[in-house]
Symmetry: C2
Subunit: 433 residues, 2 copies
Amino acid sequence: MTAIKMLRLDSAAVDFDKQLQARLAWDASDDLEIHKRVLDIIADVKKRGDKALLEYTNRFDGTAFKTAAELELDRAALQQAWDTLPSTQAIALQTAADRVRAYAEHQKLQSWQFTEIDGTVLGQKVTALDKAGLYVPGGKAAYPSSVLMNAIPAKVAGVGELIMVVPTPRGETNALVLAAAHVAGVDRVFTIGGAQAVAALAYGTESIPAVDKIVGPGNIYVATAKKLVFGQVGIDMIAGPSEILIICDGQTNPDWIAMDMFSQAEHDENAQAILISDDAAFLNQVEASINKLLPEMERAEIIRASLTGRGAFIKVANLSEAAQVANRIAPEHLELSVAEPEALCAQIHNAGAIFMGRFTAEALGDYCAGPNHVLPTSSTARYSSPLGVYDFQKRSSLINCSAVGAQNLGKIASVLARGESLTAHARSAEFRI
Amino acid sequence: MTAIKMLRLDSAAVDFDKQLQARLAWDASDDLEIHKRVLDIIADVKKRGDKALLEYTNRFDGTAFKTAAELELDRAALQQAWDTLPSTQAIALQTAADRVRAYAEHQKLQSWQFTEIDGTVLGQKVTALDKAGLYVPGGKAAYPSSVLMNAIPAKVAGVGELIMVVPTPRGETNALVLAAAHVAGVDRVFTIGGAQAVAALAYGTESIPAVDKIVGPGNIYVATAKKLVFGQVGIDMIAGPSEILIICDGQTNPDWIAMDMFSQAEHDENAQAILISDDAAFLNQVEASINKLLPEMERAEIIRASLTGRGAFIKVANLSEAAQVANRIAPEHLELSVAEPEALCAQIHNAGAIFMGRFTAEALGDYCAGPNHVLPTSSTARYSSPLGVYDFQKRSSLINCSAVGAQNLGKIASVLARGESLTAHARSAEFRI
């Protein structure tokens, strides 16, 4: 096996910006053929409802459902999956769920209002979505942790009904996924997947209720379908490949850092793991650890492809410069493996989740630390946030004018409306003066 | 002039749902030709920068800029627009800005963190966007109120640099718009518009800084460009036609209600004004007011087209039923013109802004009440919120594990990671135990 040589960048190089940009570049352009096929499926499910949904499900998932009623999974099946789980896994799942829930409770937005001196009341009313849909992939990519991370914030927000869809290829279900749905408090589960499941949730069929928002990961068909139904319903982000950026001062065990890089790289050949350090010798040590540990890994070939194709080591002059580079990258996961993580964290303003200190492995955040593992990728942390309770809440502005308030405000509105030549606006305000 | 006959629906009709759905339907499907032209402009500006931007600007806006430097409007021009404004308008603009700012301050999200018993710290860090772009239409659709509503939340959030673009067709500027930019604290103004301005803000050129998010209204080219650059930058919502839904118990002056409907209808022939009442006689009175007041209106033809094409009167059995219909419609603006608006408001959970009581004309909210006038349209209030300070802030999750915390969490993460066959995740956690 040939040794991995990590791509080395140096922030002192004149073309550093350009080189970094080239390494970060990720082409997420749409495949027009997939786009067209997904459009057809959506139109068909919208038009023919359950009939189309059944046909696509049986065709794509190799199932033999005869009626739409068979698509709903009994709640007893979830209970049973939970009851038969080995106790180590049950305890781990329950503990993770409890921690995710406790953290999510802090995110809950509250309504507020205030009264002005003339009696006018202004405020903001916060309500939960009526119905939300949760997409869970079937087969190999079925992650129980993903069920917890998507479902629990919705339940904490107070969503009226949380509906999960999960395909069952050749009838095969995943007991851990169903147990996670049970623990998270999912209300209904349908064994459907693909673009047809997204279409059913967006428009509703005779059997599947239409929801207000669809969240959760999926393959290219699911992601394309989510983009195409956006507007009819809300959606969460469309995730790119997973990323980790580690800033290390050279004092952490290099094996730990290598394994943290592996933990992203093992997801996918396109995953991106980058290490920044002000210590060139440390970068060599981590490279040695990578080559020492790689042969032990089950997903060694995926890790190798990810590290050689998209990984990088970046040498900087000091940690402040490291923070600047991190803000430019705006990574999904950022580890601050340094002596004083709080001081460095104060310089960070673009990152999905920040893992502070040598003991905080990113993997803890994937499962059970509490914060959500659904995070903005591909530099979108510049303007977006982790999935949270707030994604299942919405705000309505409240205005309740007193008679005196309507006079005061009416005069101002009248002047501004006439300045915009909107006479009906002006007169509507003037009527109350 | 023929009298307006409003479409009448009755919630007791067997096909009420279907009839309502038909009246609400709004086809926002993309025009493929526009899509293609906008894609070309974006690609060209991305590739050729200022050169392309200058060419498109001169071609589409009828201007004769020779260098990109001429595209930036001097801050002195904003100051001058403000200084020369008639005092009535200046006072109205300043008062509106102060009220919008005061309300926005209540929306500001704060960072938080808490420490667990084993010393592990969890939290959420809130930061402002580095740079935001504000699109302001030129010519007739240039609304100073829109500058205030988009710019002030960004400034309250603490956005580092707020960059406004506004086209100047044939060199024509709008003094009220520039004065509003001055009052709102916009940092830089460029006299560009259309898809080329959106592309410049998204990708940056030699002269125009790339931003993290683009907000503000625009024509179909601007809206299409915003959709196409989404991902590269964040965007606000893509607005559909404006809507008002009024629930009235029959005791408000029918002239007031008619004029409130006009104040939406005058925006656009596709705007939608709907009145719900439990009092059939009152619906007749409002229809009489509509026909009495219409001839006095400057935009009578637009109002007529809107009311006859998309307006409706809905008769319900009681106000609770009215609230249910309102939740189904999820209107942009909702007026509760009833004796006890608080009680009715408690039943509303889908609406962009709620105007409570007979004195609260919707027009007050458009200009100066305080809450934002950028609101979710086309039923998207089911899952989205008014534009606010939170749209210019983002969250990063914080995790800082103590040595003991890393042990406790590492064991759970290890079990769950192995359940998902992600061994590197498991080992990364186990290293810290």
